[in-house]
Symmetry: C2
Subunit: 345 residues, 2 copies
């Protein structure tokens, strides 16, 4: 069962319900839409649910996109987001959640309602970053980067946990049997970086079932040297947002480099379609949003700006993760790791 | 006097001596070239020094680009880099240094030979990052980012010191009377980020003579929202290198987005010249390399790959900083800041 926060997002329930209706047609998912029935039900009627896969679960109001998460959740325990999270928690292992709401509030709602997987001390929000290189059976042109903001400061154990979680998720979502995992640092040598990076390098190198390729530098990120990039949430947040800013501004930058030239303008005009496609390649919404990893339930956080397509893709990814038992596999991976280390010591 | 490490860099003394000879012709700088006389002197003869502004200072050997800095400097105290640093230290306030050698060894040589400016606890390596927006009298299309690797972990006081140093440097190099200074964080709110960022925000806000525009996110970096971006060396290193990787790979990315289309190929061909210019805009070598700030002597670290033009520009920047008394102005700025805080408390 995929429980969708029908009210979150920059554009209100419209695109969320539309995306859920599309998902109900193209996937086998059972869906619950959590929100104000007076708003959500007419939208379901409008976009259609011929196979009756959607059910509306009532909730009161919405956590605003710019609200302070902790305050808003305390004041609005019946808003769509916390109601959805509790529903997933109570529903059991076959439940997952999708929300395009306030990121901080989504992470906090999960923390309030879900349990951490045994062995996980810190959870991670993972994002996809467009790269030159493609990977996996699905030929995905992105790396998974985690954490990008759930845990700003980490220790070596946290980074090793992120490596296991990210590798498991990437293997399911990109159908990549053995994703290459790297640590982001300021140098490729194992001894380079903050003390926790150096210690994490030694830990991850010895993890069973993880294809660790060592440290990578910022230079290697856009090239796609790794399928899974492990870092603290502060650094991850800044790099992922920076890339977003670059692609948004790329046309302007090109233009100002040679503003006056007619051939340049004509060239840009010819490329317009290509640039749009480049934007699509870099558009992480099409990859179903950002998973929050480390809880016993999966939550996919779709971008606040998500349209129906992004919501539909987020639901699809959530469904695939449920089908492949993501959370159980992460738990197994972490258990193997502990066992290996106990054997070694 | 500009003391140039003539041996450092990926391409040996050739481009360094060529750049120094060019600088001797186009600037008023007096120059010393530190290196093996048997290698350096013939190069000076080749590239020419008609006004006799260059003097060769003998040194033995070179710190290799891939050497471990601490080990190499202990083993080769007479190599060009440490000899140059000691010469600048002994020469006095009117001396500055330029090197395109091993970055870690350059920073370490400075730390060994120079004193920190009173009030500076941690030094910073600053880099320029290309942006859409232009700034200053010189219309420079870059932001100054510091630290990018000298100090991986910082506290709030360090960040405030970086703000003063970066603002002073930018005002001289970009002829920007009042550079906008920002803190790099994972959100724009003053309360967002690691504890040291939140504390630094409160400190920098109250600095006299600093035009603080608050926190910026990764998204704002390529747009050029700030003239001076303050961050820890780990984050700065990764963001600056990432941008380098993006521009190196941009044409490939564009190409693969629409590989088959003829119009796309034709468009790219028309843009070739523009793309080359775009690369120039993003080529920080033309801005004279990266200053190491916080010591009582200035050192400009040029990229290891520097050609003659980059070396010449680094010498020019060093000369301008000497003419404008950069180190004394940083010291004044830090003193004002302490005085202000003492008054306030």
């Amino acid at each position: 069962m995929i429980v969708v926060d029908a009210m979150g997002g920059d554009h209100g329930p419209g695109p969320v319900v539309e995306g859920a209706c599309e998902a109900a047609r193209v996937t086998r998912a059972q869906l619950e839409l959590v929100g104000e029935p007076s708003l959500v039900e007419p939208l379901v009627a409008k976009f259609g649910d011929p196979e009756r896969r959607l059910r509306v679960i009532p909730a009161e109001g919405v956590i605003a996109m710019d609200a302070k998460p902790r305050v808003a959740l305390a004041e609005q325990p019946q808003a769509s987001l916390p109601v959805a999270a509790r529903r997933v928690a109570d529903g059991g292992q076959r439940y997952a959640m999708v929300s395009s709401g306030n990121t901080g509030a989504v992470v906090l709602s999960c923390a309030g309602a879900f349990k951490r997987i045994p062995g996980v001390r810190r959870t991670a929000l993972a994002a996809v970053m467009p790269t030159e290189k493609r990977r996996g059976e699905k030929d995905d042109p992105f790396s998974l980067v985690l954490d990008v903001g759930a845990t700003l400061r980490v220790d070596a154990e946290d980074l090793a946990t992120f490596a296991v979680m990210g590798s498991t998720y990437a293997s399911i979502v990109s159908k990549n049997v053995s994703p290459r995992v790297a640590l982001l640092s300021n140098g490729t040598e194992p001894t380079k970086g903050l003390p926790e990076i150096v210690a994490a390098h030694a830990l991850i190198r010895d993890l069973p079932g993880i294809r660790f390729i060592g440290n990578i530098e910022g230079l290697h990120l856009p090239r796609g040297a790794a399928d899974v990039v492990v870092c603290d949430g502060f650094t991850g947040n800044i790099t992922v947002k920076m890339l977003e800013g670059i692609f948004e501004g790329i046309v302007d930058m090109a233009r100002y480099a040679q503003r006056s030239k007619m051939t340049w303008r004509f060239g840009l005009w010819l490329l317009e379609n290509g640039i749009r496609r480049l934007k699509e390649v870099t558009d992480w919404q099409q990859y179903g949003g950002a998973p929050i990893l480390g809880f016993d339930r999966l939550c996919i956080k779709a971008h606040g700006r998500s349209g129906a397509r992004a919501v539909r893709n987020a639901i699809r990814v959530a469904e695939r993760c449920l089908a492949q038992d993501l959370c159980a596999r992460i738990e197994d991976g972490l258990r193997d790791q502990k066992a290996e280390r106990a054997d070694a010591s």
